[in-house]
Symmetry: C2
């Protein structure tokens, strides 16, 4: 097989990015975060690592960065807790791993990979995923260390945040249990192509701000939060989780590539489908085994970066394409 | 819109059905169970109920029947507990609901429908799903009431059932955490078409015998355990959950119908894809908005029944097609 030139793409979530409007420091933090994650993932590829190594490293970088809604700095549930979802998939074997509603692991994507590689299952949830983490030597952390001042402020600013106890919330929201749409998403993800021609994706999130405790979103779901198949390509998605689940957005985008659409056509057409069928908003990054990149979002913004040596490209709003040297 | 003639299809799970080989009573219980569930669901349609009402009623009948691996009589985890997954989807709106690893609800499919209709989320997990059940007036039950003599015997007969404590299991299975493939699946499901031309699916399961606690399978995943879309049709799947998740089998089958395959062609081609790509075994039932039925399985057997008035058809092994009057 011809050796492929490695490519890595990351996103830092689709949304309004209201927090960075008119705030150059906040904007800079987002840009630096996605560029740094792209560099981290690309370093793995440059050292000869696999596409799995690359997407895991890139997403861990975003999980560790409190600017993004994943790992440290995750959005909080109605009760003020962290509950994180993540998944990872190998386009060579179609092997996949995911974790749902984990509260005390610094890097959910790393745990998802352990589920993939060290169990016969694909998904583990909640405390049981944490118990598995301890079994395989992935340390757990005090959940409070993942909560930031910003995530608490974000929770308290939500109109649907009425009370710290779910019972009160239920009482105050008869007939409409759940949360309003939060425009400020921030799920993170990466897709990669390694020199062997293998593709992979990883996605990680804190979910929706002020979500019901125990809510599972699209990020841990193979086919919604992402998909990877060496026959067509790989995808990581972000946006209205429930809408992405109803449309299996990631698998939809890979179907379109199987039918001959380019990476960019497939992601644009997939997002149109998301809007038309369920009125959903979001974005996605796509990469083919040939190294073609697709990046699109139907939200106001989506932070993204990619490395296609010798350049790093990055942007947030429509029409942006900034570059710097690797 | 022309009034459609209602159709309902159920399955009682794909697998070897080793338990019924050479045992006419066991075989009869399976046949009677799927026929009864088909009748229950069809009654809803005949009374003017929606396809959602019909699939819910049919699946609740199978959950209540200890012969099947869902609700009462569910397979048990390595620790001997019940952890059930279920989902439901409306092909008209693409609205969907699911619950993951619930232990103390008699009818997980009923709870999944409540998640769909009474929250803004699609999925709730574990104890949080149970808390929501109590909030909306769906009673919880003592988990022990869902455990049967048969499910305990099935657990204790598994070679991978080494110990009642997960720690011991971990110690005894270094490097290979998880369970061996269990050939005797038994996930249940239904698909329906109502007189308004709307399709729906529901799927419910106790998962794999001797699974790791906290394992989520395909049944609660929209696009893997089932899919419903008025534009092409509806599907409920059963089989190797992890393989179904990796291939998004239900969405794959509806995608083939979108491309013009008949219901029967789509389900056969989907199952070939499952085998070819990940070596998976399983089965599925399919129904189009025109009332065309597809039923297929690549396992040794799959119990199924359908009502297309005035006849009920049913079978378990390849080539069977028994009939009786509605």
């Amino acid at each position: 097989m011809t050796e492929r030139r490695p490519v890595l793409v990351v996103h830092g979530g689709a949304g309004t990015h209201a927090a960075i409007a008119g705030c150059p420091e906040a904007r800079k933090a987002v840009e630096e975060g996605v560029v740094q994650a792209a560099r981290r993932g690309y370093d793995e590829l440059r050292k000869g690592g696999s596409s799995l190594d690359a997407v895991e490293a890139a997403v861990m970088s975003l999980e560790d960065n409190a600017t993004f809604n994943a790992g440290h700095g995750s959005c909080l549930t109605l009760e003020g807790a962290v509950e994180m979802d993540a998944s990872i998939m190998d386009g060579h074997s179609l092997d996949a791993g995911s974790v749902v509603c984990v509260s005390n692991v610094a890097n959910p994507v790393h745990l998802a990979r352990a589920v993939m590689e060290q169990t016969k299952h694909v998904s583990l949830i909640s405390d049981r995923a944490s118990a598995f983490a301890e079994h395989v030597g992935i340390g757990t952390v005090n959940p409070s260390t993942l909560i930031t001042e910003k995530s608490l402020r974000r929770l308290h600013s939500q109109p649907q945040f009425q009370a710290s106890r779910l019972d009160d919330f239920y009482k105050q929201n008869p007939g409409s249990t759940g949360t309003a749409k939060d425009d400020n998403h921030g799920t993170v993800g990466a897709v990669a192509l390694d020199s062997h021609g293998n593709v992979a994706y990883a996605t990680s999130t804190g979910g929706i701000n002020a979500k019901m405790p125990g809510r599972m979103g699209d990020s841990p779901i193979i086919g919604s939060g992402g998909y990877a198949d060496n026959r067509c390509g790989c995808v990581s998605t972000t946006g209205d989780g429930e809408a992405l689940m109803k449309t299996c957005l990631a698998r939809q985008i890979t179907f379109l590539m199987e039918q001959g659409r380019s990476a960019q056509q497939a992601v644009e057409e997939g997002l149109s489908y998301l809007q038309d069928r369920v009125g959903g908003s979001g974005g996605a990054i796509v990469l083919t085994p040939q190294g073609d990149i697709g990046i699109s979002f139907v939200s106001k913004g989506m932070s993204w970066a990619y490395v296609n040596s010798p350049q790093i490209h990055y942007g947030i709003y429509h029409g942006e394409d900034n570059t710097e040297a690797v």
